[in-house]
Subunit: 159 residues, 2 copies
DNA sequence: AATAAAATGTTGTTTATGCAACAGTTGTTA
DNA sequence: TAACAACTGTTGCATAAACAACATTTTATT
């Protein structure tokens, strides 16, 4: 059992981020499962609950997700009846995304899932600490976006 | 182009973590590619550079990674000649992991990759800010581990 | 006006990851 | 001592994600 006691170094930031991210995924997957969705569609649906009538590329740019990944997530949301895709009348390349009634009903579900995770992840944090941590995360995210900037994906849609 | 300007809400923490994590992955993948490795083996190798003669389960527990994932990462490291796996003389179920010479030579490579990412992600942070952010990330990671605790994976090996 | 470059979404491929099931081994309990 | 539970690693399966290539359309350049 001495094996379990010999790891005494501090985990690098990348490892901490990985742990947090994977936990987020696990929880979202669990919570969305009853709705026939999974973590891969979470961000896309959250984005659309906030704002419809956007094109896929906008969604991809917002969360810096690969457009192929977005296309697949969006397809799943459409297949599941959560969204509707409409050809953009002004641009034949693009597709506009809208929520269905079923999709709209997901808003409170998504909100509570998000809150649950947030509450758990920030357990023991004061409001000030949480806000400060968010500031740091935003700065880190912005830095990371610059690090991997390519194909315009460093260009965020509005933030 | 108004699509690109209509996303004005703050990204939830899960989304920020996801952005950072994916960027980390992209960069690690890029940097390890010339060595014939990829991001999936990064943490395992880092762990072994720090401490050999551990069993796979220890590694899995340390970074809260699924043991199947660890088994596959370790297999790749062995296939690539970076590590050696030896049956544990005291426990016929377990395998002990050791670096090869080739694996040892990776230590400075891994270190500089890690530093590069860290430097980029914390660009513009003072030392105090970075330390504070790390404290928060550790606390978040600990919270997340508790959130998804199962199968003893909440039990970290030494931290 | 013609050509070249960029934009938008789709599809193929590979990889990492978690969940699940399993085989063999070790530790605990009755 | 035997039965049962827990441990350790392996493998199957499904999913998300990035990279790459591509077709079509729109925009920019010549």
């Amino acid at each position: 059992m001495s094996d379990r006691r010999e790891q005494n170094f501090q985990k690098p930031p990348g490892a901490l981020i990985s742990i947090i991210n994977r936990a987020h995924f696990i929880i979202i997957n669990e919570r969305l499962k009853p709705c026939g969705l999974s973590a891969g569609q979470f961000l896309a649906l959250i984005c659309l609950v906030r704002k419809q009538n956007i094109i896929q590329d906008t969604l991809a740019r917002h969360f810096h997700i690969d457009k192929g990944t977005v296309a697949r997530a969006v397809q799943k949301l459409e297949d599941g009846g959560f969204i509707r895709r409409t050809p953009d009348p002004e641009n034949r390349r693009a597709v506009r995304l809208f929520l269905t009634d079923k999709g709209r009903e997901m808003a409170p579900v998504l909100h509570s899932i998000d809150l649950e995770w947030e509450k758990g992840a920030f357990s023991g944090f004061t409001n000030e600490e949480k806000e400060q941590c968010m500031v740091y995360l935003r700065r880190m995210a912005a830095n990371c976006i610059s690090l991997v900037q390519k194909n315009g994906y460093g260009v965020d849609a509005g933030e």
